[in-house]
Symmetry: C2
Subunit: 336 residues, 2 copies
Amino acid sequence: MKVWYTDEIVDATPVISSRVRLARNIKKYPFLVVISPEQSKLLVEEVETALGSHFTPISLAGKNDIEKRGMLERHIVSPEFLKINKPKGLMLQSDERICVMVNEEDHIRIQTISPGDGIDTAWDTANKVDDLLEESIQYAFDKDYGYLTSCPTNAGTGLRASFMVHLPMTERTGNIRGLLPAVSKFGMTLRGIYGEGTEPLGHIYQVSNQVTLGKSEEDIVNGLKTITSQIIDNENKLREKAMSSIRLEMEDQFFRAYGTLTHARKLSGKEAMELLSAVRLGYLTQTLNVPKPGKTLYEIMMSIQPGSLQSAAGRELDENERDVFRASYLRGMFKK
Amino acid sequence: MKVWYTDEIVDATPVISSRVRLARNIKKYPFLVVISPEQSKLLVEEVETALGSHFTPISLAGKNDIEKRGMLERHIVSPEFLKINKPKGLMLQSDERICVMVNEEDHIRIQTISPGDGIDTAWDTANKVDDLLEESIQYAFDKDYGYLTSCPTNAGTGLRASFMVHLPMTERTGNIRGLLPAVSKFGMTLRGIYGEGTEPLGHIYQVSNQVTLGKSEEDIVNGLKTITSQIIDNENKLREKAMSSIRLEMEDQFFRAYGTLTHARKLSGKEAMELLSAVRLGYLTQTLNVPKPGKTLYEIMMSIQPGSLQSAAGRELDENERDVFRASYLRGMFKK
């Protein structure tokens, strides 16, 4: 299968992608805080063996900081994983739809991504990887508490399911302010594109479950689906309303964004994400009748983040150089 | 000769155009305030006869408000002239370089325009028209006070000479604030593109003499030249400095302006003038390497004013319709 973010479906609706993460620990090893380097090494080997030839182990030792940052931007690894100073492992499938981190906060973090509204696929896939691992590994499991995890907030199902959603109209109308508390009430959370504590960029948010304990996996996924579909319904309604009441202003915004994207000589990440957000909405509403770029907008959005950008440049760039390279990269992307 | 604003020289330096205005009154008629409609009619006929076949009389009676506003925007008539409710006359040459208003504030207002830094040409031309009129008309003239005018501030030479200048860097750097008092000290004044009480649009200013009495025509014109050349030197220096110290930011600004001009679906007059100002500077510094429009930027600037725009549309447009038509007109202008 092709890399998930190259699938056109990531640009087709407000739902960019669906993700599932399972936190697992192996019974015979102590948790991350106390695990020794030797045990960590054995742990990594054990997981690699269990996953067998289905995955390519990625050596982080061979990656420089820029490449690591790029992996973070592509959601292959977590910021926490990069910080850990013990032997750790990363297994990835070439379509980047499944990655397994070994010795992250938990011994094993299975992560699956599907383009668009593909949470069932992501969930199925995660389950299959989970089953594959269980064939040779004994998880730390308690019949009352479920899967035991390094941090108790992940115990129980060890499941975090999430949708990456593009909510330009919810943000533009200020509806986003009411959304956060509403989502919280249902044990869900709304965060920026790069997770906790990061600013939302390009009006992109992650909706995910907060609670992992005391609910079945099915309840968690279904609850997330319900909440997200309400968020998306609302976004769609706001968009339709705007497209009928202030159509011209909307079109003006899309075309201006496109004009700036295709002409600017300097673009900060924040501004570029806002412009791409407007262009995405322009294509989605079929009012921005200009040729689409060769990549999906979501892939472009990831490509202009600092790590990916410097990887593309093949060298470290300071902020100013990045802004210049980003503008040049974007002009190239949208070149007729 | 071609219409003055179609000459490429209007875009080539900060000096867009040079103008000379001579205020004259005919001895045998009373000033505007007291002149009767019958006398006004005779006055208009007399001036038309004196100018003979060199000019085309323009009938204002046949013009609607939109067309009149367009003439104002092209500097053919003054706002005061349009307001006068007595018989009045307008004579124009087809290149719009000479126009004569009859029964404006004074009986006769000779106005000459030259593209770029052509004040000597404008002054020569005005003198020739003045001589032509004097062949058959006796001016109200006092050997001590010079030419007598309806308003004493114009008495003496009756001369107002002015330069239309584009000062984006002087404005951007805030230098413009110090310029007004400096210019005043020399009996000169700095006003917006459409004269007294109008906001400067697109960083375009008129520098003109304030004082008409007690100085020779030559002194007035030379004084204006000196002041203007200092203003222009300063603008050029500021531009060169910026183009070496913040070249990229400048280029970014030019290209963004071009991107917006060629893509926006709605543009207010104020914003469009600012964008055209940036594009003018981009061409002038030879950094905006995109095809030039078929018209001079200064002609485009005049064409997007409300009157000219509605003339082009062939009907009245409200503000919102104008903004949409303006954006569409500008996209057409810059179409590759």
